[in-house]
C-alpha cells in the first residue's frame, strides 16, 4: 500500500509556534486581576495535624484567601481509589502533602504568607519499607483500612511445583529498582479562571489527562462535570507524570478562584515539583526460574512488591500490567506470579512511562542472562529457544493468534544492526586494562493500550469548515510526542487533502469527545482509529454528494491530492474545495464524531487468565558499554533499538520516541534515583536528581520494524513506552559481561559498579 500522508516524516504541525517562542505553556498565561497560589507542604512524612492557625497569614498584605481541608467540599479524589487528599485534613501521610493554599496578589506575598501559617504537628512513626508495611500488625498508613495492602494480583498457569521438579537447573534471584522522577522540564503549572463562558471554573494547564482532571475537580467541588472546563495548554513533557498531581493542583486553584472570584495561577518550582509529585514505583522482585539443561524454560515463580507510597493512585493498574508481563515474552507451561502494592509513608507512586514494565523487565531480562550463564549458553541462544512466536500461549493463557508475533524478527534485526554476535564473542575474551567492554540485550512484549484495566474507547471530531479548512478535536492530548501531527496525517490521508488544511485543536473538555487518557501508548492506535473513522464518514458523505452529482458509483471515487478522482479512469472529477462548496449548497452537515472501541478482552482476576490485551508490540534493545572497573564509571557506547510498531505513521516522530525513550532508559539504568530517607526526599532539584545530558548520549541506532496490525489505523500500534523499558536491563547485561559481576539493583551508579553496593549519606532532611 502506498500512502501519501501517513508513513511519511511530515514536519510537526506544532513546530513553528514552538521554535519562535510563542507556544503558550500554562505559566506563560496572564489574566487580568490574576492572583498567585502557593501551597504550604508538610514538615514531616507522617504526622497528626494538631492545629492550623491561618489568622496571621490572612492579614498579610496582598493575601486574598487561605484555604485548608476544612474549606473543601470533598477532600478525597482518585482515579481508581478515592483516597488522595487535596489538602491534609487530620494527618499528613507523606512529605509532599499540602496543608494549606494561599492566593495573593504576588508570588512574593503568597510565599510570605506561607511562612505565617502556624501548623502544630504531632510526629508519628511512619512506615517506609513496603516489606514492613506488609507485615501483620504493621501500623496502618490509612487508619480506616484493615491493612496496608493496596492490591494483590495473582496469576496461576499450570503447576509450578511440578515444573520445578522437572527442571534441571533452578535459579532464584532478587532484584530491586528505585524511585524515579519524571523530570519533565516544565514544572506543573495552571491557571483557574472562575465563571468564564458559563462554567463555574475553567482551568488552563499543563494537564496530561484533561478528563480525569475534570472528574477530580468536579468531584472535589461537588458539581456536575459540565460545570468544570479543562483546556489543555502546550505541555512541557509529562511521561505519565501530569495526572493526579495536576488534578490536585487544579482542585486547589479552583477552590481559590471561586473563593476570591479571581483567576488564580499556580506554578510549582522544581523543588516543589519533586517533593510533591508521584514517582515511578520502586519494586522488590523475587524470581525463581527452572529450565532443562537444553535451556527450555519449565517454570517461573515471581513475587513483586511495589511501594505505593501514601496513596493508591495508579498502583492497582501499574501492578496489573506487571502481573501480565512479568515472565517476559517466553513460553512457560507453569507460572505463578503475585504482584502486590503496599501503602507506606513514602512519596506516592503512579504512572510513569512504562507503567509497571521497566521494573519487571529489568528483573526478567537480567534473570535470562544469569540463566544463560548457568546453562553455558549465549543470552541470545537462550532467548531464541523460549520466545513467543505466532500462536504462542502467554502466561495469562492468551493465544497470540491475531497479529504477527515478531520477536524473532526484532531480535535478528537488532543483532544485525549492532553486530551483536561478533561483539559478544570479542567481549567474552579476557580484556586487559581497567576499561572493559560488554554487550547486552533485552527484549519485551508489551500489551497495547489499557487492556483489562478499564473501558478502552476514543472519539474524535473532524469538522470541515465552509472554506474547506478542517478542524480536528480529540479527547486525547498532545504530550509532546507528536500526536497532533500523527492524527493530522491520518485525517489528511483519509480525505486525500493537504496537511495545511487541518488545524488540530487543543483538548477542551467541554468540546472534545472524552476519550480516556493519553496513557498506555494508546493514542495512535485508539485515537488514530477514531480520527480515521471520522474522516472516513466525511469521505462517505462527500462521495455520496459527488457520486449523485456526476452519476458515478460512490465506491468508484478516489480522494487524493486535494481532488476527487474516478478510480479506474484516474480522472479528476472535482476538486476537494468544489466538493465542499457543493455540500454547503446542499446544506449537508460536514462535522462528524468518529468513535473507536477497542476489541473485546477478558480477565479473570482470580487466576490471572484471559485475553488481557487485544494486541502486543515487540522490541529488542542492545547496549554496548565500556566500564571503568577502577572507578565504576559506565560509558554507554551504543544502543540499538529495534521495535515493531505495526506501521510508522510518522517515521521521524517515531525515531524521536526511540531516541528519547532510549535516553530515559539509560538514565533509569545508570544514574537516576530519587533518594529517600525515612520519607524525606533528599534530591529535590536538577543539581542532585541527575538525568542524562547530551554528553551522556551513546550512538543510538533506531530500527523500525513494520508488521501492520489488523486493529491499528493503517496497521499502527504503539511506541512511546516500549522504547523506555529495555535500556536498563540491556545496559545491566552489558555491564555484567564487561565486569563479570552482576548488579541486581538499579541504578548502576559509581558505587554499585565499583563496590557492588550503594552508599548512603544518611541523615533525613536537607
Amino acid at each position: 500500500m502506498v500512502y501519501s500522508k501517513v508513513n511519511k516524516p511530515i514536519i510537526r504541525v506544532d513546530a513553528y509556534e514552538k521554535v519562535i517562542g510563542k507556544a503558550k505553556f500554562a505559566a506563560d498565561l496572564y489574566f487580568p486581576n490574576m492572583l498567585y497560589g502557593k501551597v504550604l507542604r508538610s514538615k514531616y512524612p507522617y504526622a497528626r495535624i494538631v492545629k492550623i492557625d491561618i489568622e496571621k497569614a490572612l492579614t498579610c498584605p496582598g493575601v486574598e484567601a487561605v484555604i485548608t481541608a476544612d474549606d473543601i467540599p470533598n477532600n478525597e479524589f482518585g482515579v481508581i481509589v478515592q483516597n488522595q487528599q487535596v489538602l491534609a485534613r487530620q494527618q499528613v501521610l507523606y512529605i509532599g502533602d499540602g496543608i494549606a493554599v494561599v492566593a495573593a496578589e504576588t508570588k512574593e506575598a503568597a510565599a510570605k504568607a506561607l511562612g505565617l501559617i502556624k501548623v502544630e504537628y504531632e510526629e508519628l512513626p511512619g512506615i517506609f519499607d513496603p516489606e514492613e508495611a506488609a507485615k501483620k500488625g504493621a501500623p496502618l498508613v490509612h487508619s480506616e483500612l484493615e491493612n496496608n495492602q493496596v492490591v494483590h494480583h495473582r496469576l496461576r498457569k499450570g503447576d509450578t511445583e511440578r515444573g520445578f521438579a522437572q527442571a534441571e537447573v533452578i535459579l532464584e534471584r532478587e532484584y530491586t529498582t528505585q524511585f524515579v522522577e519524571h523530570a519533565y522540564i516544565e514544572p506543573e503549572s495552571l491557571v483557574a479562571v472562575p465563571y468564564e463562558h458559563n462554567t463555574l471554573v475553567t482551568i488552563y494547564g499543563s494537564i496530561q489527562n484533561p478528563f480525569s482532571c475534570r472528574n477530580a475537580v468536579a468531584s472535589v467541588l461537588k458539581v456536575p462535570l459540565n460545570k468544570v472546563r479543562i483546556i489543555q495548554n502546550h505541555m512541557g513533557g509529562s511521561f505519565g507524570g501530569k495526572d493526579e498531581v495536576m488534578s490536585s493542583m487544579a482542585a486547589r486553584a479552583a477552590l481559590l478562584a471561586l473563593k476570591t472570584n479571581r483567576p488564580v495561577k499556580m506554578v510549582n518550582t522544581r523543588d516543589e515539583s519533586i517533593l510533591e509529585s508521584y514517582k515511578r514505583h520502586p519494586y522488590k522482585m523475587k524470581y525463581k526460574v527452572g529450565a532443562t539443561k537444553e535451556g527450555k524454560l519449565a517454570a517461573m515463580e515471581i513475587k513483586c512488591l511495589a511501594d505505593s507510597g501514601a496513596y493508591a493512585c495508579q498502583t492497582p493498574f501499574v501492578t496489573w500490567r506487571s502481573v501480565v508481563q512479568a515472565t517476559g515474552p517466553y513460553e512457560l507451561p507453569n507460572v505463578k506470579t503475585d504482584t502486590y502494592g503496599y501503602y507506606t509513608n513514602n512519596v506516592y507512586t503512579g504512572a510513569m512511562r512504562g507503567y509497571g514494565s521497566p521494573q519487571i523487565i529489568f528483573a526478567q531480562e537480567s534473570l535470562m542472562d544469569e540463566l544463560a550463564e548457568e546453562l553455558k549458553m549465549t543470552p541470545m541462544e537462550l532467548r531464541l529457544k523460549n520466545i513467543y512466536h505466532n500462536n504462542s500461549i502467554t502466561a495469562s493463557g492468551q493465544k497470540l493468534d491475531n497479529h504477527q508475533v515478531s520477536l524473532e524478527e526484532v531480535i535478528n534485526k537488532a543483532v544485525e544492526a549492532s553486530n551483536y554476535k561478533d561483539k559478544y564473542r570479542e567481549y567474552s575474551k579476557p580484556q586487559s586494562g581497567d576499561k572493559k567492554r560488554g554487550i547486552g540485550m533485552a527484549i519485551s512484549f508489551r500489551g497495547c493500550s489499557l487492556g483489562a484495566e478499564a473501558t478502552d474507547a476514543a472519539g474524535a471530531i473532524v469538522a470541515i469548515q465552509r472554506d474547506g479548512s478542517i478542524l480536528i478535536s480529540c479527547g486525547l492530548a498532545e504530550n509532546g510526542e507528536g500526536l497532533k501531527t500523527v492524527f493530522t496525517q491520518i485525517a489528511a490521508e483519509e480525505l486525500g487533502v493537504d496537511i495545511r488544511r487541518i488545524n488540530y485543536m487543543e483538548v477542551d473538555t467541554s468540546v472534545s469527545p472524552e476519550s480516556g487518557a493519553t496513557v498506555a501508548s494508546r493514542s495512535t492506535i485508539l485515537g488514530g482509529n477514531a480520527v480515521k473513522n471520522a474522516a472516513h464518514q466525511l469521505k462517505e458523505t462527500l462521495a455520496e454528494i459527488v457520486a449523485a452529482e456526476f452519476k458515478i458509483k460512490t465506491n468508484n471515487l478516489d480522494f487524493k491530492n486535494e481532488n476527487i478522482y474516478e478510480k479506474n479512469k484516474n480522472q479528476k472529477i472535482i476538486s476537494f474545495d468544489e466538493a465542499i462548496t457543493l455540500a454547503n449548497q446542499q446544506g449537508i452537515f460536514l462535522s462528524v464524531y468518529g468513535w473507536y472501541k477497542a476489541p473485546d478482552i477478558s480477565w479473570d482476576e482470580e487466576n490471572g487468565q484471559g485475553r488481557p490485551y487485544f494486541t502486543y508490540v515487540y522490541g529488542c534493545q542492545i547496549a554496548e558499554v565500556e566500564v571503568d572497573t577502577a572507578t565504576g564509571q559506565i560509558e554507554v557506547l551504543k544502543m540499538t533499538a529495534a521495535h515493531d510498531v505495526g506501521r510508522a505513521i510518522n517515521p521521524a516522530c517515531l525515531k524521536g520516541q526511540i531516541y528519547g525513550g532510549v535516553m530515559m532508559g539509560l538514565g533509569y539504568g545508570i544514574m537516576e534515583e530519587v533518594e529517600t530517607a525515612n520519607g524525606y526526599i533528599k534530591n529535590t532539584n536538577f543539581d542532585e536528581y541527575l538525568i542524562p545530558t547530551v554528553k551522556d548520549m551513546p550512538e543510538i541506532i533506531p530500527v523500525i520494524v513494520e508488521n501492520p496490525d489488523p486493529h491499528g489505523p493503517y496497521g499502527a500500534k504503539s511506541i512511546g513506552e516500549p522504547t523506555l523499558e529495555l535500556g536498563a536491563p540491556a545496559i545491566a547485561n552489558a555491564v555484567a559481561q564487561a565486569t563479570g559481576k552482576r548488579i541486581r539493583h538499579l541504578p548502576l551508579n559509581l558505587e554499585r559498579v565499583l563496590l557492588g553496593h550503594s552508599l548512603s549519606k544518611g541523615g533525613t532532611k536537607k
Binding site: Y16, V19, I20, F25, H234, E481, G660, F686
Partner: protein, 153 residues
C-alpha cells in the same frame, strides 16, 4: 529593598526598567517584558530552559540579576526570527524534528545560536558541548544535534 533603574537592549530595542534587588533576568523578561518564550525549569542553572544570549554568550537567565546587566545586549527566542524570517536554526529544528514538547526548545535554540555566532562550523562534539547545559527529557538530543549539524555544514 529599593529598586534600581537599568537600561539594556532586548532583541535590538533599548529598554529602561525599574527592577527589584532580587529580580533575575528571567523574571524581568517574563514578568515585565512578557517575553515568555524564555522558560524556567529549575531556577538554579541546571536545566538550560532559561538560556538567553547576553553580549554574544549563552547564559542562564535565572542566574543573573537584572541589576547586573546595565548596558548589555540580550537576545531571546523572540528575537531570533527577524522580519518574519526564521533563523536558519529555527528552520532546521522544524525540518529535522528537533522538537517534541517544545519546552526546552527556546533554550536549545539560544545555546545553538550562541555557538554558531562564534563557531559557524562546529563538529558534533562542539555542538554537544554547547548543549551540555540544556536538558531535554523528550528527544534524546539526537535530532537536535542533527538540526544544528544541518546548519553548521
Amino acid at each position: 529593598m529599593s529598586k534600581v533603574t537599568v537600561t539594556f537592549i532586548v532583541n535590538g530595542k533599548e529598554v529602561t526598567l525599574k527592577v527589584g534587588p532580587k529580580e533575575r533576568l528571567i523574571d524581568t523578561l517574563r514578568e515585565q517584558l512578557k517575553l515568555t518564550g524564555t522558560k524556567e525549569g529549575c531556577g538554579i542553572g541546571e536545566c538550560g530552559a532559561c538560556t538567553v544570549i547576553l553580549d554574544g554568550k549563552a547564559v542562564s537567565s535565572c542566574l543573573i540579576l537584572t541589576g547586573q546587566i546595565g548596558g548589555s545586549e540580550v537576545l531571546t527566542i523572540e528575537g531570533l526570527e527577524v522580519d518574519g524570517k526564521l533563523d536558519s536554526l529555527q528552520k532546521a529544528f522544524i525540518d529535522c524534528h528537533a522538537i517534541q514538547c517544545g519546552f526546552c526548545t527556546p533554550g536549545m535554540l539560544m545555546s545553538a545560536k550562541a555557538l554558531l555566532i562564534h563557531n559557524p562550523h562546529p563538529n558534533r562534539e562542539e555542538i554537544k558541548t554547547a548543549l551540555e547545559g540544556n536538558l531535554c527529557r523528550c528527544t534524546g538530543y539526537e535530532q537536535i544535534i542533527e538540526a544544528i549539524e544541518s546548519v553548521a555544514k
